[in-house]
Symmetry: D2
Subunit: 199 residues, 4 copies
């Protein structure tokens, strides 16, 4: 709980983050994504393709005593994540420059994995993540293309006991001439998968 955002529920408004030109997970998508991951204190989290770091910042605030590794290959993204980490005074967020899956190998094993971007290597990223996640581990993918939805669904069914797909369509009002016009955000597929708890 810092001064920039003293609340406990996730859902920091988009415009409080440093953003630049990097695409950002919008706040409504972000809170549902976090919900599907089921975060708890002490967890180790990989956020692959972390972009602006908005999801990583929110995740870090939900896992005190744990740590979020934000993996990002782009220079602009890395700078933004650092900025947002400082802005929200998040101490347990580590920026990991590099490309997945290579950049993942040396990281501590995760309890939760987020995939926001895969650089074309979804297959090997999911395979490696599934191998490193323990019993009860969860993986959540945000997909915006039909191809990613199809691939992710196929792969997750091979490695995980339960898979759920939610498509979220958000429309928000903007005020124009005293009237509230509905503007749509692009729909996002939130695909979440869980490993069975040990018997």
């Amino acid at each position: 709980m810092n001064e920039t955002w003293p609340y406990r529920t996730p859902g920091i408004p988009d415009d409080l983050f440093a953003r630049g030109e990097v695409p950002m997970t919008k706040e409504e998508i972000r809170v549902v994504t976090l919900a599907k991951a089921r975060l708890a204190p002490g967890q180790v989290i990989w956020d692959i393709g972390a972009g602006t770091g908005s999801l990583a910042v929110e995740a870090a605030r939900q896992v005190p005593g744990g740590v979020v590794y934000a993996v990002e290959r782009g220079g602009a993204g890395i700078e933004l994540i650092e900025k947002n980490r400082l802005l929200f005074a998040v101490g347990n967020l580590v920026v990991v420059p590099g490309e997945a899956p290579d950049a993942l190998v040396s990281l501590p094993g995760p309890d939760r994995v987020f995939i926001g971007g895969s650089g074309g290597k979804l297959d090997s990223i999911i395979r490696l993540s599934a191998g490193r996640l323990g019993a009860g581990g969860r993986l959540v993918i945000n997909a915006v293309t039909l191809e990613t939805v199809g691939e992710a669904l196929g792969l997750l069914q091979m490695y995980f006991g339960s898979v759920e797909v939610v498509q979220l369509s958000v429309a928000k009002t903007v005020c124009s001439g005293g009237r509230h016009l509905l503007k749509s955000l692009n729909p996002v597929f939130i695909i979440s998968a869980g490993k069975d708890h040990a018997g």
Copy 2:
């Protein structure tokens, strides 16, 4: 953090709640509703038209040291809220049988107000809530009819400095013959309003 649901992020799956025939705020709607309310430890919350209590239970878990008053007139609802309160071992949730706005008068002043149902008295409920909320207070309405959206929007603009409307459309897959069919939930308007922070 109890044993039924040991996680910190909101978003308890719908089917973990006792439900009966009472309509329930679905988990994706619930987490966005909680996000718009911006909950923090110690807050006093009114949940008006609490239904099954799913929102009240999740809110209570986000405000340790605070308290959630779940106002509900229906007998079936009151029983369900009690059941869910016990199920998730939530100590700071108080069931208030009765109808708003009358049932609100004797409650401690709120930091946050949720309105899930108004029994046709949206006008007086909003007016009373706006009067009791202090600086920085927030009110969030879930509306499923066009009439409620219109009324709420008109009223909130009179009493609050900022108003936002988000329409959330959720489609979830169900598996049928090895294929994933998208099924829609009904769209919900999440209308949130904030009182300016004291200058």
Copy 3:
């Protein structure tokens, strides 16, 4: 059936129209709007707030022997409607420069009325249209603001025997790097009302 568009079903692709800066009813919205109007040869149609004329052009093609009056106050719109009328060689489309409801008074009584824009005079436009429509007449409104939906619904229920509201959300793929990204159009409310057939 002309050479620019030799087909009979409505749904001319958006990019075949001359468009300029004037907002346009997108093709998917257009075909559902036309469907709700139930067009037939010989009908007289008012299209109020005709914009680019895309709806008027398509309507005119569905009512051979009838006529579409496209009412538009803006100079840019009037020019575009003329352009599109010529482009699709539609002979039974008459551009009516001016503002509704004043511009409607001297027009022949309609069988069908479309309202795409009302310049703040929805009340008097609906009242006048309802008075001029005969038994079995229909009126269809495209609304993009919550306030217009509310007003339209209230007014139509006073003057018409049956009223239906459909909200249409369209997402279309754009190809990017061999992948299909879903992009949303803003949602539109299509509100249609019918006068009872004479007994």
Copy 4:
């Protein structure tokens, strides 16, 4: 133009059709599907997996001088299509009992193909259809599962010059206690593909 439905625009209300237990293409989905097919008088149309025949009936009304072959394997469907053919007095609709692709082989070559159901043989149906469609021919698929979207997209890109995917989400009001509640239909993907016109 018959007496049951004397209008020219597609979009016959769902409840005017004989329906039984067979799933039906809802009217808003139907009109956009027809639009994407670009129908004109004289065309030969295959409707594969015709279900209740609602799409086939509407298509037949748009192609006077042409013919629609409604291919359906289920007994209940075949009866319904016959009923609806009579109900709307459509003379140019031929019911073809049997399974695609086998049932297609002896049919006249199509100008347009609709696929509403494939019985697990989407691959061979698309391949055969693509081979029989001439220059300027079009194929439109209604898909409700993520797997069908993925397969269809992959296959159509191999055989057709242009492919478009539209996801349509429809919410309709139902009146309850004088209020208009929005109810969602399940989203449908309308995937349309065109063969280039001859050079």
